[in-house]
Structures are given as C-alpha cells and as structure tokens.
C-alpha cells in the first residue's frame, strides 16, 4: 500500500504547523497550504491523495477551491472542515464533490480516520482504473504494441 499524502488547507498558520507536526509524528507525510490558490499550486507539483479543506477562508473560499480541485484533479479526495455548524455549507461541499465533512473543533484522530477512509476509497478507485486498463492490455497484445508505437 502506498503512503497516504495529505494536504491541509486553512488560513490559520498555527493550526497548519501544529497539525503538520502531529501528523508527521504519527508517520504521515503532510503538506500545508494557507490559501486556496496555494493549495492548487501545490497540487500541481505534488502527488496528494487527500485534501482537508477549510470552508471559510479569505480570498478563494473553501467551496470555490473544492470546485477547482475537482475540476483539475478529479481523483483527489477532499474532506471539508467547517467551523460553521451550518450543515448547509457542508452539504454544499458534499454536492460539489467532497467525500466527507468534519466540524471544528475536531480531534486529529477523527480527521485521520476520515482521511484514511477517503484514501482507501481512492485506492480502490485507482485499483479499478488499473484493472480496467490491464484488461484492455490483455485484450490484445497487438493493440498494446500499437498503442506503445503511437505514444
């Protein structure tokens, strides 16, 4: 199983740094981003499996960032982190493709649990994609050759 890579997106610097420390101590590789734009920037450069995204941020807010992520990186799973118990914003997030939501203040273990679930789901998805591709390969080795030649 591959290592899960998490990215935390929140405008609270201290939350980012502390959580990063906790996560690394727990053996996770975590990236942080202080804004939506920075998050998108980092997603382009790094392989990230799960993004934990604060709903309310200055500038590009959580929902907008989520939509952008889903557009550009459909396979990245996003968990919404909301300080607002207005379930509405969480529902908005879920409708826009987030896999889950967590209410602040939350326990980092809970967060990790949800992240793991999301990661597993993603793993399964990737597995399916790989299988599907493999089936194509197995269908006709000539085709594969053809494809290789073409590419």
């Amino acid at each position: 199983m591959r290592e899960m890579k998490i990215m935390l997106v929140d405008d609270e610097e201290r939350f980012l740094s502390t959580t990063e420390k906790v996560l690394s101590r727990k053996g996770y590789d975590a990236l942080t981003a202080a804004s939506g734009t920075e998050a998108l920037e980092k997603l382009k450069r790094h392989t990230i499996h799960v993004v934990i995204l604060d709903v309310k941020m200055p500038g590009m807010d959580g929902i907008a960032t989520l939509k952008e992520i889903k557009k550009l990186f459909p396979l990245v799973e996003v968990i919404m982190l909301t300080g607002h118990a207005t379930v509405d914003s969480a529902v908005d997030g879920l409708k826009s493709g987030a896999i889950d939501y967590v209410m602040k203040p939350c326990d980092i273990d809970d967060l990790l649990e949800k992240a793991e679930e999301a990661f597993e789901k993603r793993q399964r998805l990737e597995e399916k994609i790989r299988m599907a591709q493999a089936r194509t390969y197995m269908k006709s080795p000539r085709d594969i050759l053809k494809q290789t030649e073409e590419s």
Binding site: T18, T19, V22, H84, A85, T86, V87, M103, P105, D107
Partner: protein
C-alpha cells in the same frame, strides 16, 4: 397604560355615560311636566269659562222667562182685573205652577202704592215710592233688583215691569225665591272646591257661596273681580285665607251682577300632584338605571380595553423578544464560528503535546511519576474543556442556524405519550405526578416531529428541575395538555415548581440565560426551543408566578 390612567379613563367614560342620557332625560321629564301643568291649567280655565257661559245662559234664560211671565200676565189681564184679589190669586197660582220660583205677585199704581198682592205676606197698602226697585222700574220699564231685605226682612229679589195703558201706567212685580235661584246658580260643581255664585256691583253676595258667604254679605275675597269687563275674564288670585283660586267671571244683567265661577288651584291641579309624584318616581328609577348602566358599561369597556392593552403589550413584548433573539442569533453564529478556530488550534496543540509526551514516555525519556500524572490529567482536562466549548458553540449555532426540517403530520394523541415516555422514569424517581390531558378533537399538526420532541423534552426536563428545586422528591405535579384553540393547537406544560421571577421571565428565551448552577446548563435550551417553534410558525409563551409554578404554552397552526 398605568393603573391611574385607567381610573381617569373610567371616570371620564362614566361621566359621559351618565351625562349624555341624563341631560335629555331631565329635559324630557321637565318639558313634559311643564306642558302637562300648562295644559292642565288651560283645561281647567276653559272648563271654568264653559261653566260661566252655561250659567250665564241659564240665569239669563231664567230671568227672561220670569219677565215674559209677567209680561204675559200684564198683557192678558188689565189693571182692573188684576187688582181683584181673587183673580190675582188665581193668576199667581198659575204662575207658580209654571215656576215655583215665584214667591208672590203684586200690582202697584204709579205712586208706588201696593194695590193688590197675592202671596204669603201682608203687603197690601204699603207704599213703595221711595223703594230703590220702584224708582228703577219706573225709569227703565223693566227691572230685576239685587237681593234685598225690604219690609219683610227676608232676603229676596224682585222682577218688576211697568205696563202703560192709555189712561194710566201701573207696575206688576213678582218676588223670586232666592233659595231656588241659589240652586240654579250653585248647581255648577267642579272637583271638590269648584263653586259658582253671583255678586252685585258692590261685591255683595246675591247667591250663597258654598265655601262660605251668606246672602247679602260682602265678598272679602278677590276684589279684583269687580272690575268692569266684557265677556269672560279669567284670573288667578289668593283669597284672604291665602288659598289660591282660579277664577272665571262674567257680568250679567246689564253689568249689575257678576257671575263668578272659581276653583281652588290645588284642587284643580290635583292630577298635577300625582303626576309630580310619578315624575319623581320615574326620575329616581331612570336615574338609577342610567347610573347602573353607566357603571356596568364603563366597567365592561375599561376591562376590555385593559385586556386589549395587555394583549398588545404582551405582543409587543413578544416582538421585542423575537427581535432581540434574532439579533443574538446572528451574533452568536458569527461568535461561535470565530471561537471554533482558536478551539481547533488549542485542540491541535493539545494533541501535539499528548503525542510528544507519549513518544517521550515510549523512548524512556520521561519516567512515570506523580508530576507526570498531573501533566497527563491536565492534558485530559484541556481536551474535556475544549470539548465543552465546542458543545456550547455547536448549541449556539443550532440556535441560529436555519436547519432544513422535515415536517410531517403529527397526531398529538399518539405523539405526546411517546414524548412523556422519555422522561417518565426520571419523573417517577423524583416523585412527580405526571398527568396528560389531550382532548379527543385535537387536529393534526404539520411539524418536524424530532424538533417538537426536542422542544417538549427540554420543557419537561426544565419542569422536573423546577419541581425538584421547590418540592424535593415528593409533591410535584406536572401536567401536559393539548387542545384545539381556534384553528390552532395549544400544547401546555404546567408544573408546580419554583416558578420564574418577573425579572427573569423576560430573559428566559435569551441564549446563555440560565438560573442553574455553573456546569448544569448552558442556557441555550429554551432559546433553541424558541427558535424551533418560531420556525414552525408557532408561538412560544410562558406564564409564571414565582414559587407557584410555571406554564409554557406552544401554539402551533393546525393542519389544513
């Protein structure tokens, strides 16, 4: 409005409610009384006038008849015949047959010597030349005397007539019985005191007066009577005794006799007196009715106004509360959100410390010790307290948020027992007698059942808490009732607990207001209930008397 204002207002209403009907009432009573008195007086006077007129006619007819009688005798028989006593006697008897008023009959020559006489006295031969009547009859040819005594010393009056033959003139005279004449005049009777009589020019009675006044006596009352006048004259005058009389008078017999008809005013106005009593009685009864009605109506109006005012102030109070709660809701949503971020950081820091500590312990860098225990306990406390803060902010947000609800038809007959079932064990433990009264005709309501349950459980828990505060573990009473109330459903939760003080009752729906000890309540329960009921389109209300208990009422629109 203040208590004093109501008193002033009710005085004002009372005054106008009494004055407005009393003024026309008094006017009606007095105007009709005045008219009645006036018409009574004019009716009395006109009846006096009629009597005077009738009498005048009767009297004049009587006198004319007597004159005609004499005329007939004088014309039918000559002087010589009539001076024969036997014939005179027969003529007199015939006259008496016609009218009993004739007392005697006599014939006189020009010089006033009584030639012949028929009657009860011995008057033949007496000379009347100097007598008043004789002079007058010679002068006028016909004369009716006043009442006088004459030779016989008995009051009487005479009717005399001069007959002129070719060679001589002679006089025929008849005496009229005053008693009989009296009867004719006196006949007029009106009421108790009505009477009629005749006076001569000098004010002497020519007929007797019932109320006193013999023949030929001087009438001491009403000297004004004797003023000369034409036709009938009416006036009001007091007599010597001070009694007021209504008078009607008329001159007769060439203005020699005055016919007087009079009646005591008090007697004539007897009907007026009973009318006066009636008026007084009606005034008292009417006045009493008006005053009683005024008091009753005023009381009703003021009570109704007070009720409306109270309703209004209660409504505006509710509006104020609702407005304040909406503000607080908005504020607390923002507030909760802002608090959640630092809470999240604290939580993260705490997790970091915990992680570090456990790693260090694993690596043997930290030894188990009492201090270590303290640190770990403290870390646990930080977690517990941030959780508590998180709970509060969650509740706050719940109060403020617009949660999507799932309304469905709820049958309170089934629903209420379920809700009560949730708290019945707790109530039993505290020795509380729980009653439920749900009327059979209660309509369905369209609400989110879980929300309504949350509200009711909250109210029931509060009630149990208040009962335990007041009674301990015995004597508590808790009643949940539901009934239809004009297109709405009223659910009431009544307890006999400690109640709510007037200054607290205004604040109980505000978030964070609680009277419970620290840690027992967040003060968010009722505010959340309030906002839930508000969003259901209902009205949440409370009534309480401190120390006696409280009633929370929920009005919800009935389905359909």
């Amino acid at each position: 409005m203040k208590q004093g204002d109501y008193k002033r207002l009710s005085l004002k209403i009372l005054a106008s409610m009494i004055l407005v009907p009393v003024v026309p009432f008094v006017l009606v009573v007095f105007v009709s009384f005045h008219h009645f008195a006036g018409s009574l007086q004019s009716t009395t006077i006109s009846s006096l006038i009629r009597i005077v007129d009738d009498h005048r006619r009767t009297i004049e007819l009587f006198l004319t008849e007597r004159k005609t009688d004499l005329q007939f005798v004088a014309d039918s028989f000559g002087f010589d015949d009539l001076t024969r006593p036997a014939l005179l006697q027969e003529v007199f008897r015939n006259l008496q047959k016609k009218s009993v008023a004739f007392v005697d009959l006599g014939i006189f020559d020009e010089s006033g010597v009584h030639i012949a006489y028929s009657g009860p006295y011995e008057l033949t031969g007496k000379v009347y030349r100097e007598a008043e009547w004789f002079k007058e009859v010679i002068k006028k040819g016909y004369y009716v005397s006043d009442v006088f005594l004459g030779y016989r010393q008995v009051p009487h009056f005479v009717v005399a007539l001069v007959k002129k033959d070719k060679d001589r003139a002679w006089v025929i005279r008849a005496t009229i019985d005053t008693l009989l004449f009296n009867d004719i005049v006196e006949k007029a009777r009106i009421g108790k005191t009505g009477e009629s009589y005749i006076l001569n020019k000098d004010g002497l009675f020519q007929t007797e007066r019932r109320s006193g006044g013999g023949l030929m006596e001087k009438d001491t009352d009403g000297m004004a009577n004797l003023l000369p006048h034409q036709g009938t004259r009416t006036f009001v005058e007091k007599d010597v005794a001070g009694e007021t009389y209504l008078y009607a008078t008329m001159w007769l017999k060439d203005n020699n006799w005055l016919l007087v008809v009079r009646q005591e005013k008090a007697d004539a106005f007897k009907a007026l007196r009973s009318a006066t009593y009636m008026v007084i009685l009606i005034s008292i009864l009417g006045g009493f009715t008006i005053v009683a009605m005024a008091f009753y109506m005023t009381n009703r109006i003021v009570t109704e106004m007070r009720r409306i005012d109270e309703e209004k102030s209660r409504l505006s109070q509710q509006l104020i509360v609702a407005g304040r709660l909406a503000e607080i809701g908005e504020m607390s949503a923002g507030f909760a959100h802002e608090i959640n971020n630092p809470l999240q950081i604290i939580r993260a820091e705490q997790t970091l410390i915990e992680t570090i500590v456990s790693e260090m312990k694993e690596q043997g860098e930290l030894k188990e010790s009492e201090e270590m225990e303290e640190i770990e306990d403290s870390l646990r406390q930080i977690r517990v307290q941030t959780d508590r803060c998180g709970g509060i902010t969650q509740a706050l947000l719940k109060f403020a948020r617009e949660k999507e609800t799932a309304p469905a038809a709820v049958d309170l007959k089934r629903f209420l027992p379920e809700v009560i079932g949730l708290v019945i064990r707790k109530a039993d433990v505290e020795g509380i007698d729980v009653q439920q009264v749900v009327s059979d005709d209660i309509p369905l309501i369209q609400v989110d059942a879980s929300q309504l349950q949350q509200v009711l459980v909250n109210l029931l828990n509060n009630a149990i808490y208040a009962i335990v505060e007041q009674h301990g573990a015995a004597g508590g009473k808790l009643e949940i009732s539901a009934k239809a109330a004009g297109g709405r459903v009223e659910i009431a939760v009544t307890d006999n607990g400690c109640g709510i003080s007037p200054e607290n009752i205004e604040k109980i729906f505000a978030p964070f207001f609680t009277t419970k000890p620290v840690g027992r309540g967040t003060g968010l329960g009722l505010s959340v209930c309030y906002s839930i009921i508000e969003k259901m389109g209902g009205i949440f209300g409370v009534q309480s008397e401190e120390g006696r208990g409280a009633t929370f009422t929920i009005h919800l629109p009935a389905e359909g």
